[in-house]
Every structure is written in C-alpha cells, then in structure tokens.
Symmetry: C2
Subunit: 340 residues, 2 copies
C-alpha cells in the first residue's frame, strides 16, 4: 500500500489513524484508501456506510436494477448513526461512487468487500471476475457467513493467496466484530493486512485458526439458539421469557466481556479454575440434558407465533432504531473504559 | 401483606412503587416491606444491598464467624453502585440488621431470600428451620441455581406451598433477571406474589413452566459454554478470540434484545419466518458440527491458561469494577428506551 490514492489523486493523510472503537493495542496503519463493495444488499450497504464514515473512498457495484438508488438511500439512512459514532477526517457520502461494471468497480480498489448471495456458484462467478479485474495486491474479502474461503478461492486462478473471509455482524456499521478466516492458499501477508485493515477502520477483527462451518460467533449463536428453541418446544418457557432471560440476564454481561472472562470473574480469587472445579460437574449435567430439536415446520411456526405475540403492536423498524440507539450508548460506554 | 411494617413501626409509603428498571407493564404493589436474607455470601450480600436500595428493611442471618462484619463491608462496597442506579425513598443501609439466630431473622419477614450452599442436605436443614419460624404467608424463595423447588420444599412440613426458587444473576444488585420456579406444591398465589415482589423491587422476573436443571438462563449459558470450550479444544480459536467474538459481536445485541427478537429483526419484512426458512438448514448443519467436549482436567487447564494469557497484567477486582461501570451505563440506556 502506498500513502497516495491509488488513482493518482493528491496524497492525503491516513483517514484511519485512530478510531474510537479500535482498542489501542490494534495499531492502525493505512492499509486502504479505496474499498470496493461488491453486492449492495443489507450487508453491503452497511459496510459502505461504515467505510465512508472512516474517510475511505468507496466504489460500489451490484447488478440489480435500482441498486444505486437503494444503496444511496440506505447509506443516507445509516449516516446519522455512523456520524454519531465519530467520523474520520474527510469522511463524506460524496466519496461513494457506483458502477454496474464489476471490473471497473474493483480495478483500483485496495480492498474488495464482497457481499453476494451465499451460493457457491454465485461466489465462484464473482471471485473469478474479481480475480481477473482487481490489482494483484488487492485484498479480496468475502462477507460469507457459511462458505469456507478455500472453497471460494477455487475460482481464483490468478491470485488465490489474496482471498480471505472477512465476516461482519449485522449491522456492520455498528457491531465491531469481523471474523477473518484464511483459506488453505491465503498468504500470511494478506491475513495480516486484512487484520490491520479492519482494525484500522475501527472494527474488532479476530483470526480463525481453522475453517469451520459458521466460523466462531455463528456457531456460538447456533448453540444458544438450539437450546432456546428446545426450551420453547419442551414448554419450559415462552419465546418472550427466553428473550427476557438473555436480554436481562447473561446477555448484559456478554456485551461487556466474553464468556470466559465473565466465568473467571465469577470465581472470586480462585478464578476460572475454581469455577470449573465447582461448577464443572453441574454444567456437564446440564449439557447432558440440553435439547436436540429438529427445526420442523411445526417448531418454526411455534417460534414465529411466540415472537408475534411478544412484539404485538410494536413496529419492527422502530424497534431496530431503538435497539441501535442502545447499542450506540453501549459502544460509547465501552469505548471510554479499558477492557480486554 | 399490610401497608404497615410487620414489626408494628409507624406506617410508611410503599418504598417500591416505581423503579427505574421495572418496565411499566410490571405494575408493582407493595408485596414486602421486610426481607430476610439467609446466607450472606456473595449472592446474599448483593441481594441485601439491592433490597436496601429499594427502601426495604433487611434482616440478615448467617452462621459463619465474622459474617455480619463481612456483610456490612460488602453492602457498603455495593452501595455507590446501588445508589447510582437510583435509591427508593427512605432507602438506607441503616435498615440492615443482623442476627445469628435464623428463627429470629425470619420471624417477621414478608419474604425470605435464601442463599445457602447448593447441597440438598443443607437446603433441607435451612428450609425446615424457615418453615418452622416464618409467618405462614411469608414467601420462602431460594436463590438456588441447580436444585428444583419441589426437592427443596420436601423439608417444609408446614407450608410447602410458599416455597419457590427465585434465582438471581450475579451480581443481583445490577443484573435484573430473576427466574421464578414454582415447585409441584407451590400455590398460584405465592407464584404471583413472588413475581410481583421481584418486579416491584426493579427486577425482571420470568416464570418457568417446568423444573429443569439450570432453569433457563444457565442452560442457555451452558449451551454456549460447551461450544466455546470445544472451539478452544479443537484449536479453532483462542480463549481471547472466543471472548472477543461474543463481547464485540452477538453479545452486544443480546444485551438489548433476546435471541428470538434479534433473529426476527434480522429477517427484514419476512421476520423470523423468513430467517428460519432460509437460515434454518445451515443452522442445522452447524448444530450437527457442534462439539461435545468432556470437561477433563486437561481441557480445564487449557481454558484457565487461555484466560490467564488474556488477562495478563489486569487486576480482576479492577476489571469487575470496569465491567460493572459499563453494565451501569447499559442499564441506564435501556431504562430510557421502551424495549420488549
């Protein structure tokens, strides 16, 4: 990467030197000035808003009719939140350009963030095009939540070493986590640059050591969902009660510190060793009693009915806005306090 | 319950009419003016601080030498947090009394909150004493996280219908969730009064429909822990990475809304039905790949080493204070916004 815009415009200062939500340990260096967004659905639009907020040039592409108009509307809708989280110097929605031509979109990009449909044949078509059109040193990152990067990179005959998964959490312009997953052929340099890039734009990247279905966080979510679905199916609790159990219970602590550190802190001077020695056996008893439901149409119907009852009279869009307002306050509180 | 202090002191206004964290739907009525805390360890002391903060009279008992001194020190340590969360009228640590005599402690209590060791024989000894000494209309609530109320109530020959589990989450003076679990012989009136009591002191009670090991929230935690432990054991992620995946990812959303509503909101106009139809099959794929580790000494050692590495140089007590400061800001943000 150079300190100069890849298109040859005038040089400018690093737009991502310090961000509010990047812990100090993540030293940021200007890995990218220009990011291409491939696929501008919900995730792509949120990524675009985030990168624009960090002062980057964003060029977006999507083959769908009306995509540019929808993208600009989505970015405008996200912008107040992005701005309230803190804009980098020079950040502007004016730095967003759009082209329906994928090759043109990625030709000058330092990083490509791909957000296409989660089907292997679609990813392969996209990555073949990206491999042919992007600069050899550009990072090709897929937002894929389920497909392994080694599989995605099979479409890249030129430079498969620059393919990684960079999996965000919805909405990417608010939630910091990015899971960086290298494939079999991904180079160490690309992994490092991807980690630096995400940290530099205020995200919290973690690096996976293996390719597994669902990466890390979706597996942890799936484990919790399984028992949540089971408790409703067994008649132990309503959907609303399960939601309350998390949102007014352990979910609060998980928003601040992860499961291991929270367990450690609950153990007093003995810490996690004490907890595992004393609560390990009852925890294993619970493990043996956990449900193993099948997601049948009947169960799905029961869960949907439970949510409908819980949210009766509440407008979902309004609730998203309220949730995000709390998330904003939470992130601001976390940014002001040194946490692991 | 009367509007008059059970000891015959002068009448006073309900101390728990409105609390900051009790959603409006929980109409509070003065179920209790005097609470007995049986067992004044970590949980008991936190309960004591919380009830005092809500303006109640608290009488505590514990057979351990030096228990009163430790309790008063713990309550004093919690008081700034309790006060910052908002004190009820008349709330004062002066309303705390202590006696080593369990019968004297509970004789005039409207509610007894028991926090003894998690062993059946200890619970049975305690509840036999409580049953003999408490008023017939007093609620006998156990903080037990693992023992079912039907088993606990076996010790009560007089009035087993007033025994419930009222399981809090650590620390009870901050985390709102209380799981109310009726036993086979618990009366409907007692369950309702227990729900009203906890809601009235600013907690978020949920009522379980069945007695199951770990109630609800600890089962959901155990499900997540199992996969967390497994990911470390399999070498997919470090302890620190798993912690980051939750605390900077889905944990943030779970602090605001539960797993069902968050899934529902991620589905756009189609809501949870759309999510389950499209993400159900990949979620089931993940379920089939989830780990099933045994909590061996080797695995425990690996997890402890991971936490030690993650927290190297960080003082645990200091980290608890920082976590609780964020929790406080989070609860304040949630209190200002109408959420399910």
């Amino acid at each position: 990467m150079t300190g100069r815009d890849a298109r040859g415009d005038q040089p400018r200062e690093s737009p991502v030197s310090v961000t509010r939500f990047a812990p100090n340990r993540h030293v940021s260096r200007p890995v990218a000035r220009r990011v291409a967004i491939v696929g501008t659905g919900v995730i792509g639009a949120s990524w675009a808003a985030h990168f624009l907020g960090r002062g980057l040039d964003v060029v977006a592409t999507d083959p769908a009719p009306g995509a540019e108009q929808r993208l600009r509307a989505d970015v405008a809708a996200h912008w107040p939140t992005v701005a309230s989280l803190g804009l980098a110097e020079g950040a502007s929605t004016d730095r967003l350009t759009f082209t329906a031509d994928i090759a043109e979109a990625v030709a000058d990009a330092d990083v490509v963030q791909e957000n296409g449909p989660e089907r292997v044949e679609v990813k392969h078509a996209l990555f073949a095009a990206l491999d042919a059109a992007a600069r050899p040193d550009a990072i090709l990152a897929s937002s894929s939540s389920m497909l392994p990067p080694s599989l995605i990179a099979q479409a890249c005959t030129e430079h498969p070493e620059r393919v990684v998964v960079g999996h965000p959490f919805n909405p990417p312009h608010i939630v910091p986590l990015v899971e960086v997953v290298p494939g079999e052929r991904t180079s160490e340099d690309v992994v490092q640059r991807a980690m630096d890039f995400y940290a530099g734009v205020g995200k919290r990247p973690i690096r996976l050591r293996q390719e597994v279905p669902g990466h890390i966080a979706n597996r942890l979510q799936a484990a919790l969902w399984r028992e949540a679905y089971s408790l409703v199916e067994r008649g132990v609790a309503t959907v609303a009660d399960v939601d309350a159990a998390i949102a007014h219970g352990p979910g609060l602590r998980w928003a601040v510190l992860g499961p291991f550190v929270n367990q450690h802190l609950s153990g007093g001077p003995g810490g996690l060793a004490h907890v595992l020695a004393h609560l390990g056996p009852p925890t294993e008893d619970i493990w043996h009693d956990l449900g193993d439901p099948a997601l049948t149409p009947q169960l799905a119907e029961q869960l949907v009915a439970g949510v409908d009852e819980e949210l009766a009279g509440i407008d979902p869009a309004d609730l998203v806005a309220r949730r995000d307002a709390v998330l904003h306050a939470l992130l601001a509180a976390k940014a002001g306090i040194d946490l692991p």
